[in-house]
Symmetry: C2
Subunit: 315 residues, 2 copies
Amino acid sequence: MTDVALRLLAGDLRALSQVMSSVERADPEAAPVMQALDAHTGRAYTIGVTGPPGAGKSTIVDRLTELLRREGSTVGIIAADPTSPFTGGALLGDRVRMQRHYLDAQVFIRSVATRGQSGGLPRAIKTMVRLLDAAGKSIVLVETVGVGQTELGIMEVADTVLVTLVPESGDAIQTLKAGVMEIADIFVINKADREGAGQMAAAVTAMQGLAPRQGWTPPVVLTKAHAGEGIPELWSKIQEHRQHLIQTAELEQRRQQRRVKEFVEMVEGELGRRWRGRLANDPVLAALRDRVARKESEPYSAALQLLDSSPLTLY
Amino acid sequence: MTDVALRLLAGDLRALSQVMSSVERADPEAAPVMQALDAHTGRAYTIGVTGPPGAGKSTIVDRLTELLRREGSTVGIIAADPTSPFTGGALLGDRVRMQRHYLDAQVFIRSVATRGQSGGLPRAIKTMVRLLDAAGKSIVLVETVGVGQTELGIMEVADTVLVTLVPESGDAIQTLKAGVMEIADIFVINKADREGAGQMAAAVTAMQGLAPRQGWTPPVVLTKAHAGEGIPELWSKIQEHRQHLIQTAELEQRRQQRRVKEFVEMVEGELGRRWRGRLANDPVLAALRDRVARKESEPYSAALQLLDSSPLTLY
């Protein structure tokens, strides 16, 4: 086993940070480390937290972390940050709230920028979850802002998905469109002291009648995360869902799918990265690119012709 | 020239729709068509409209279309639809407003789902803009909801980018974070009768002092798009920006970069698609995938090993 893998298993936070950065940039040096660590994974439980901006996701993550630490669990937190010009500022503001946990060596927090990444969540997050697992974190929390295309990705990363909603004047029903029902294992209605919270809970429950799930009906938990209210109830529902997944063998199935997805996305991402690298360094390809720019060659057909001249060989 | 290309140049809408669908799924059959049409492009002017959900982008597109049709322009509209579970419903609602233009043969409207696509806007939108150009549309409007990662993509597709904002109680400054300034060629503050509109306009203008652009300072246009107010002023600012781009030769430069980007993304997308196709049909790769699922092989290192066994040959 590599030295860095051994240090990571022994709880060395610098080793963990170092490998996190390596896997984020798909560094081949991380490959033997990941290989060595694989046997040490499978114990962590991953909870995804998604929802629209302003729903209080970071506060829920913060309060759950507090509860988990009191119970003696160790916690890894991955925050996917879309760094959108329209929401970026708000997200960074949320991060600040988590700072008190930065002083706790048993809580590992990592932000992952998702700008320019492929649809869904970045592949690296799946690898990072396995790293935190190997590093001995018993609970991994993955927070994603549910805007655009990232919110479905959370299903591919988490064992239990919390969809966080907030009562907004008039918007209660608007936010409950088709799709959310498929993502959520548990609904959290945060800022439950706001007007419309009860109405929203009723609407969610009513919609569940339309799309029933086999064996598990996502419960609705009301929270005032800022004051810590509803967090113990939320944790108890997460544990119930975990038991459900274990009993139905769905947990193992989800985790197998997750490994396959990580593998497929890693190959895909690397193919793209290698293509861009070749284009930057290969004068023949650069000449083709310049012909496309100067309208001597048409982009769509030039791309297909280039690929047709060389079938993708993989082994 | 292919038959479908000829029909498309002659204004046949069925031919246009057909090629649109082909390029969306990267069909090789569209390659000779795109090649034949390339000489007939370069006349259309592309306007991107982005902004947060609820800012009234569709209404602005609708009102601009109305004005352009009155002036005798033909219009192509591409609406990038992230079909987010949190915003999907609202977007579909907006689409309904455009319906009156569906009856106008000189307005071609196309929605493009962006779910599961790579970061930024789907590559197909760049190809579609060139198609609408070849089909004789003098103005192409591309509407994208600015959530997550798509809003930067609009810069890669449009000659002039409108960033649409709306005065929200307290949120005025929040929405003006770094990044927006780089995207916008023109700021549109819609729903300008709302409280805070003047404040927001002042804030945008103030921020421009911090990040001045060479030669072009994005103007701020106040609109009440619902009532059509401010739309003629907006159109006049778009024409000013167009003149600026022509005079500085930036228009040609932007368009060359767009062609290169389309080419690069097309190759990248196809590499990924071919990899997934191979995985689905090749028993050796399927066996490797199953080993990854069963934890007999580790995803990260398995992916890199697979790729290292066969360097990417492209010509």
